[in-house]
Amino acid sequence: MNRVAITGLGVVCPLGSNVEAFWRRLIAGKSGIGPITKIDPTGLRNEEGGEIVDFDWSIFSDDLVDEATQYAFAASVEALRDAQLILPQSPTLPVGRPRTGVAFSTNFGGAASWESFVESGEVEAFREFGFHRAAAYTSQVLGLAGPSITLSNSCSSGVSAIGCAFDQIRLGRADVMVAGGHDGLGLSSLAGLSILRTITAEKCRPFDKNRSGTIFGEGAGIVVLEDLAHARQRNARIYGEVSGYALNNNAYHLTAPDKGGAGMAQVLRRALKNASTPPESIDYINAHGTGTQYHDPAETQAIKEVLGPRAYEIPVSSIKGATSHTMAAAGAIEAIATVLAMRDSVVPPTVNYETPDPDCDLDVVPNEAKAWKVDAALSISAGIGGNNGAIVISRWKQED
């Protein structure tokens, strides 16, 4: 089956609305979390969140396009430019590629449009809310005629979309796939996640003993995946390879975490098997690390169970204290952080980490980035409903 290269990256997130801004601030230990301004936060457990603040709205001439679609589209254009598949000065010029497809993911579709529809009843708002709207818009505007799909696997959605795109290339259905996740902040999601007490009233502190929940945000993370042979033929820059992935479900409870981490352990095992990568080859893990009381120790337990002694020898970080939890975008943004860690041989920090927790006793890279060579890494995601996902990203070597 075809091997799958990563040749383009695009990010819109609270840390920055392009890849280099995001990465620079992430490595500097900055946080993109601040006061929520786009909706009235009264009654929420925390009036802070991860909002997009430096987005160039002027690139869209059509005001009706939902912001989540705009985030996804802008990140796609950045990723395709980065892959040198579209020209830098022609952000909406159709690329007209029959074997280029789209695999997106979202939890809430066009959340702002949904809330507008509920109040106004306008059909245009309903259309903009549609879960598949961002993928359809991106396919249509960019002329991408390959497979088009949207997945909604809660907060493991980003990894799910990248995995689905990986399969399309492996099976020879596409040469290039534009893949990732997107979500916009809305009152629906914040009110629901607040009442479930997933949101902390304080700071998001993944793996810290005093963690008390996460902070949600918005954005999009998009990667360009490409048939390795296709990428080599056009001398594309290759960031790395997607070696394998896995998805599963805890089959346990709709909202309660699987405290022992059995489902997550299973997904890690399967991802490694799918990637033909032994646990001892993994040298970095970008964890889901929400900062909630029960998730972080369960994820720690799963990592230790699958990686054995190797779990204590490698850095593990969660970037959610910096980016916020960007829902369906999170898995894709974290996969991009993993790729960039591989590129620059530096792993991002887990910000707001102060007090070690014996139940989360891995090297969680506290507060400052760490120089570290990464040749093979795992990026892990999980979500409401018991969804789990994991992806293995490997350094591409010319001689391979």
Binding site: T42, G43, L44, P98, G101, V102, T106, N107, W114, V118, E119, G121, V123, F126, G130, F131, H132, A136, S139, Q140, L144, A145, G146, P147, S148, I149, T150, L151, S152, N153, S154, S160, C164, D167, R170, L171, R173, L187, S188, A191, S194, I195, L196, A246, L247, N248, N249, N250, A251, Y252, L254, T255, Q266, R270, N274, G383, I384, G385, G386, N387
Partner: protein, 319 residues
């Protein structure tokens, strides 16, 4: 847009990997619930009634539920029916309404079973009920039960919990193409060795918010709803259960360039009877295809689902 055809003019999809067999089907539709009732409804051409009336989830599940969106209820019922039918193929395997006991090989090893569900609209009614209360009373009074049941992946997760489906897991929300895309993803998962057995299909329901915009979205198409789920298995899995793959209909799927698909109107056989059921339409049509191959009317029937990007072609064969 999709349609079903007797595949007289089209090539049989290449089948050089695992054979994928349909070992169970569960249908919830306005012309019949369950395989036999649905097939009879197709044969008799029961009159058009888009909405499903008289559906009771307790008729299909042993355990009672505090709350279910209609989309989740249809999903659970259709999955329960499909799993029961699949397990009835097992010789000497005890029946279990959850289906979980039956999901073992002849040697007693647990089969790795996953689920791919397609839905265009998900749990829209619960979404509206949830945000309606928030807008009325404020975020502090949000209803956690409604919220946790409002995700479009809630039906998929509930099915995983109900039937112990801890394998490959995905919810597809690709508009009207959702059911076909979910079926294709499940077939891919089996071909790529991610699972031994997959439940796959589509579901969509009529809800107040959808009906408010129906005519603007779909004109005079009859508003329909329903669910169709299939138990798909590799021939390796079937052989491990002591079953012969040749006894079952087989299913294959591939992408084809949309430009290769004639853009002519050819409505689904099922839509003509039960209305347009959004992301469930392709899955319901596949169930209609199954009736045609199992009745001997044709030995190769296909559906083509043409959404955004490449079209998806799914073929059912027997014999």
């Amino acid at each position: 847009m999709g349609r079903s055809l007797s595949a007289g003019g089209s090539k049989k999809i290449r089948l050089d990997l695992q054979r994928i067999c349909i070992t169970g089907v569960g249908v919830v539709s306005s012309i019949g619930i369950g395989r036999e009732s649905f097939f009879a409804g197709l044969r008799q051409g029961r009159p058009k009634t888009g909405a499903i009336e008289g559906f009771r989830i307790e008729d299909y599940l042993e355990s009672s539920k505090t709350y279910l969106d209609r989309c989740s209820a249809f999903t659970l019922a259709a999955c329960a029916l499909a799993l029961k039918e699949s397990e009835q193929n097992d010789v000497g395997s005890p029946l279990d309404s959850s289906g979980s006991k039956a999901l073992t090989s002849a040697g007693g090893d647990a089969l790795d079973t996953g689920i791919c569900l397609g839905t265009a609209f998900g749990c829209l009614q619960t979404m509206e009920d949830f945000i309606g209360k928030v807008l009325e009373k404020g975020a502090k009074f949000a209803n956690s039960l409604l919220f946790s049941h409002s995700y479009s992946n809630s039906p998929t997760s509930l099915a995983a919990i109900e039937f112990n489906l801890s394998g490959y897991h995905s919810t597809v929300t690709a508009g009207e193409d959702s059911g076909a895309a979910a079926l294709m993803q499940a077939i891919d998962a089996l071909r790529l060795g991610y699972a031994d057995r997959m439940l796959a299909g589509g579901v969509d329901v009529l809800s107040a918010p959808l009906l408010r915009v129906w005519s603007e979205l779909y004109g005079d198409r009859l508003a329909g709803e329903g669910a169709a789920f299939f138990v798909l298995e590799t021939d390796t899995s079937l052989l491990s259960r002591g079953l012969q793959p040749e006894a079952f209909a087989q299913v294959q799927a591939e992408c084809v360039a949309a430009s290769e698909i004639p853009d002519r109107e050819a409505p689904h056989v099922s839509e003509a009877l039960l209305g347009f059921a959004g992301g469930a339409a392709s899955a319901l049509e596949l169930a209609a295809c199954l009736e045609r191959v199992e009745s001997g009317e044709s030995n190769l029937v296909e559906i083509v689902s043409k959404g955004t990007g490449a079209a998806r072609r799914i073929q059912v064969t027997k014999g």
